[in-house]
Amino acid sequence: MADAHDTHESEVVLPEPDKGELWGMMGLFDTPADLYHAAEELRDAGYKGLDAMTPFPVHGLERALGLKPTPLPFLVLGGGAAGLASGIALTWYVNYDYALNISGKVPFSWHIYIPVYFELTVLLSALTCFFATWALCKLPTFFHPTMRHKSFPRTTDDGFFLTVDATDPKYDSASTRKLLEKLGAKEVEEVHS
């Protein structure tokens, strides 16, 4: 199956590389462990703009990369609070606008609206969670400079990339490349947008 796959000429060709602004450097590793150790070395060497590209989340890698935790939980909390508030406002307004007398219950008997409050809280939390995640990942996008690396398709298969942003103050084409290669990275390339 694999061989048949590789012999087919691909129609998918991205535009010529090295035309735009420098994005950063990418180095390929074969195992999560190699990537992990290399990331620790770069972090300890003082690099701040580190990231990795992996086929699955490598747990604990954020420590090796020196990344900050995601603010997502706070955004979801906000979404949930808005959901609960909208539920209370909706049930209150509807009964103020047109009070239905159902078996003599008072118009705004909040206990009976608990299912509605609960569902709206969950709904708005989930919507916030979903859309905020993509916003935090800077998605959707159809193109990213890293896609120019010829082994990019391996990131969703079995390749483990370590990337360094060009905006990192320590970034230097020659020395960063040398360090990555010393740590065992293969196919070290600079990519441009």
Binding site: M1, A2, H5, H8, E9, S10, E11, T31, A33, L35, Y36, D51, A52, M53, T54, P55, F56, P57, V58, H59, L61, L67, P69, T70, L72, V76, T91, V94, N95, D97, Y98, L100, I102, I112, Y113, P115, V116, F118, E119, L120, V122, L123, A126, C129, F130, A132, T133, L136, C137, L139, P140, T141, F142, T146, F152, R154, T155, T156, D157, D158
Partner: protein
């Protein structure tokens, strides 16, 4: 220590059966899952799809007849005003529960075996909820006025009744459908990116490129992504329990003997999980064989699901017993009659079908031989689904057909349109499921890779060793 690929199906207490059999690498996992999407559909698949689509047409025809002639085409009357329609609704909603349970609750409990079945089970949830939605949508009679169930501002100041469980149902089911789709899609994105990166044709690159939102597995992305997955799992857990709770309120808040009981919410939720897992087993047994995924959806997965069926089946049996006890102990004449009538009245056959399918047959799962036999699993899973349909039928019809006034007693018989619509919903469900199997990755590749031993950054890449042999530090 089990060293090389044990084909022994079960778990021994010391070393568990592996989640992925054989000598998998990250590449073979990709290859096995993506090649299903990339290969041309086989004649068998097309035949299956045509079969499912023709049943779907039965549903379309039944709905056309229903809208054209009105709800009167069903076998309902003044006494039995709910029957096959609500039975079908509760049946399908119940089946939907397993997907969210596997994807959310088992995730929170760190049950790693869920990874190879969660995607298909979540898809099944969404299609089951779609099939369920058909019933209330068309039962309103004028389906084009369906939007009236939502609180849409209008010049008449007309609002739905927020004090009714039927309105809670609208909120619960629509929230459930939305959150299930979001959760499913979130999980799909990394695997859609895999298909994009393997694409050899421009069209496939474009379609999966758009669907995957440009995902590239950046760790900054994975950080938010994993947190989002955890949060959605946390949100879905109470949500899945609330949905069938609210569905049971449709009955429990009424004053009909046989419905008016407080045991309904937990009893309905247990029954929903019970039927949902049965449906997952039925579909997975077929899918693993047809799609050649037997090394990823292993006997261990099927056996674990049969244990959940055994547990929830026993809960359901307990609920049947306690309902009777409370009816007797409560000493309300009407309640007592309703339950005796259920057992020995004109619908005795439905009641005893339900008890044998739901309480007796699943008890066979106490035996490991039964839990690890594919034919036995397949047969019992179908029996459970039949039993759960009967459960809803028994609850709904036997409680209604003899109400407080003997002069209005009646015996419900379904019309041909009741039957054709229910059969047709299976067409919708199967068609959607078959399309899903062909066009989307049926197994969460990125999650399966994550539970493989070589995924651990602190391990030293022992290919093919037992997963428990080097538990990570």
């Amino acid at each position: 220590m089990a060293t090389s690929a044990p084909v022994t199906p079960g778990d021994t207490p010391g070393t568990r059966a592996k989640l992925v059999l054989g000598q998998p690498t990250f590449k073979t996992v990709n290859e096995d899952i993506a090649s299903i999407v990339e290969s041309k559909p086989t004649p068998k698949y097309l035949l299956g799809l045509m079969f499912a689509a023709s049943i779907l047409l039965v549903m379309v025809g039944s709905l056309v007849k229903l809208v054209y002639s009105g709800v009167g085409v069903w076998g309902l009357d003044n006494t039995v005003f709910w029957a096959w329609d609500i039975t079908g609704f509760v049946f399908w909603i119940g089946i939907g529960h397993a997907g969210t349970l596997i994807s959310a609750i088992l995730f929170l409990f760190r049950q790693k075996w869920r990874t190879s079945i969660n995607r298909a089970a979540e898809a099944m949830t969404i299609f089951a909820v779609m099939a369920a939605g058909i019933y209330p949508a068309f039962h309103v009679g004028r389906v084009w006025l369906l939007y009236w169930v939502f609180p849409v501002p209008n010049q008449m100041s007309m609002w739905p009744n927020f004090k009714s469980p039927l309105l809670w149902d609208v909120f619960a089911v629509s929230t459930y459908a939305t959150v299930s789709i979001l959760f499913w899609y979130l999980g799909l994105v990394p695997d859609l990116a895999t298909i994009r990166d393997r694409a050899k044709t421009k069209l496939r690159y474009l379609i999966y490129g758009i669907l995957s939102l440009g995902w590239r597995g950046s760790h900054r992305g994975w950080l938010s992504y994993e947190k989002a997955y955890l949060i959605l799992a946390g949100l879905s857990t109470p949500l899945v329990l609330s949905v069938h709770t609210v569905v049971s309120f449709d009955f429990a808040t009424s004053v009909v003997p046989g419905w008016h009981t407080t045991i309904f919410p937990p009893y309905f939720v247990a029954g929903a999980i019970f039927s949902g897992f049965a449906m997952v087993i039925t579909l997975m047994i077929v899918a693993r064989k047809v799609l050649g995924l037997e090394h990823m959806i292993t006997i261990r997965h099927l056996e674990n699901m049969s244990k959940i069926i055994l547990a929830t089946g026993s809960m359901v049996g307990y609920a049947y017993a306690i309902e009777f006890f409370i009816a007797w102990y409560g000493a309300v004449e009407y309640e007592r009659y309703a339950f005796l009538n259920r057992m020995f009245g004109p619908y005795w056959w439905a009641y005893w079908s339900m008890v044998s399918c739901n309480v007796i047959f699943p008890q066979l799962f106490w035996f490991k031989k039964v839990r690890t036999s594919i034919p036995a699993l397949f047969a019992i899973s179908i029996v459970v689904n039949i039993g759960m349909w009967f459960e809803r039928f028994v609850i709904i019809v036997t409680s209604l057909h003899r109400d407080y006034i003997p002069s209005s007693w009646t015996y419900f018989t379904p019309s041909i349109w009741d039957i054709s619509l229910f059969v047709g919903t299976f067409g919708l469900f199967l068609t959607m499921f078959l399309l899903f199997c062909k066009f989307l990755p049926v197994i969460a590749a990125s999650e399966v890779k994550g539970v493989m031993p070589q995924a651990d950054p602190h391990g030293d890449d022992h290919h093919g060793k037992d997963e428990e042999a080097h538990a990570h530090g």
